[in-house]
Amino acid sequence: MLGRDAAAGKTTRIFTREHADELHESAAKEEASLRAANADARVDRALRRLTRLATTTTTALEQLGDAPEAEQRRLGAQLQRTADRIERLAGGL
């Protein structure tokens, strides 16, 4: 939502950078706890996929704040796709 709104000019540059920073920090914590998690064999594959998606999210959020408009649009779309994948994956667990 932040990426899409930033690309659409609905947010200010400062707000986008600051809010993306907050989200990035939170996503990085989630990523770290996923990396540290132990799971049995049944869910291990899903856990590894979730960790990869969390890494993608963290990286995209890190770039979002200072990205130019076209890049923000691309990152917004990427974040949306990643969020959809995480939701599907979490739903399947």
């Binding site: 709104d5 000019g9 609905k10 200010t12 400062i14 707000f15 600051e18 907050e22 939701e87």
Partner: protein, 411 residues
Amino acid sequence: MSLKNILAVALGILSAIGGFVDIGDLVFNMQAGATFGFQLLWAVVVGVVGIVVYSEMCGRVAAISKRAVFDLVRERTGFGAGLATLVASEIVNLMTCAAEVGGVAICLKLLSGLPYRLLIVVAVAALIVCAWRLPFEWIERVFGYMGLCLLVFAVAAIKLHPDWGEVAHGFVPGSHSGGSTLVYLYFVVGLLGAAMTPYEVYFYSSGVVEDQWGSDELGLNKVTAMIGYGLGGFLSFALMITAAVLFLPRGIDPEFIGTPALAAGDMLGQFGLLLAIVGILFAVGGAAIETCFSGAYNVSQFFGWRWGKFEPPARASRFTLAWLVIFALAMLVVMTGYDPVKLTEYAVIFSVVALPLTYLPILLVANDRTYMGSHANGKLANIVGVAYFFVILAIAVAAIPLMIVTNGGQG
């Protein structure tokens, strides 16, 4: 009533609406909407009616007996229980004040991009200058009117075109979907606690004594409590509806103060975003001053010190020192880097535990004809007051266990 008086009442109501929402309302209404959609709107109504009933009561008691809440707490509950209530209230006030100061600093950061800790110092300095220099009614009005920028959420809620049938259904308590029963109950407690937070009645009753209201102002007291708080509740509805339509389907957890502002921006563009941030800034800034004064009022009234914003600082030196110390401590708490949103959740839940000892003395004195004469509670006020007291007792008992078992509403 003259045109001037009508204008004064209207301005008072406007500032009460703008000053209704604090960081507790913002956090709990948004999170409840993002978790349960419209299903908890009824809890806001229960909370708002509760604060209307008890604000009117404590305003009436203060106007007639010339005594604010903590004067009565000590007299009615005795020194020991009174002191326990004072300590609990001061801890909750400090936590709430710290959360509000953190909220102000975050809003300033979202507007300026400057470092958070620097902005905490700026925020506290600005709030102290406002509290020191501005007359009482100007504090209420400046923060109340600017808090009206939060009406941007009402516009956003309407523009989101929610299913109004479902919205109406949310005003009826009943079965729920979308989360566990314990989490649902945790949010019920949080929403009631956020709406009926004790510092509001400490501040309101002390304000009535400071403004030297008497029996002539009882009508104004009723109107301010009913319309001001009642209409203020609409802002809570707007926040919950916005979160329900925008965040729930996307699985967004509004765990940051910027997230509600983003909702306004999503609907109304940059102007909406800025209005939302400014509205939150002044709403939480006003609440920071109120919590800080509430803490100073409580301790001064309990120990019988001279108190009052109208008193020159040198004459009410211990009162003045008390609110300055509360601001300083609040600044130290947020300087640790603890998340203001988390702090808000704890403050609201702990404040629920302190509610019965705050509201019981009000109820007792409002019924005491030796104090109140012909202005004692009528039948209706008593029935509603007692019913709410039992609600308050129930949520006070349930609050901390629910917070622990639900991991602060995370499930």
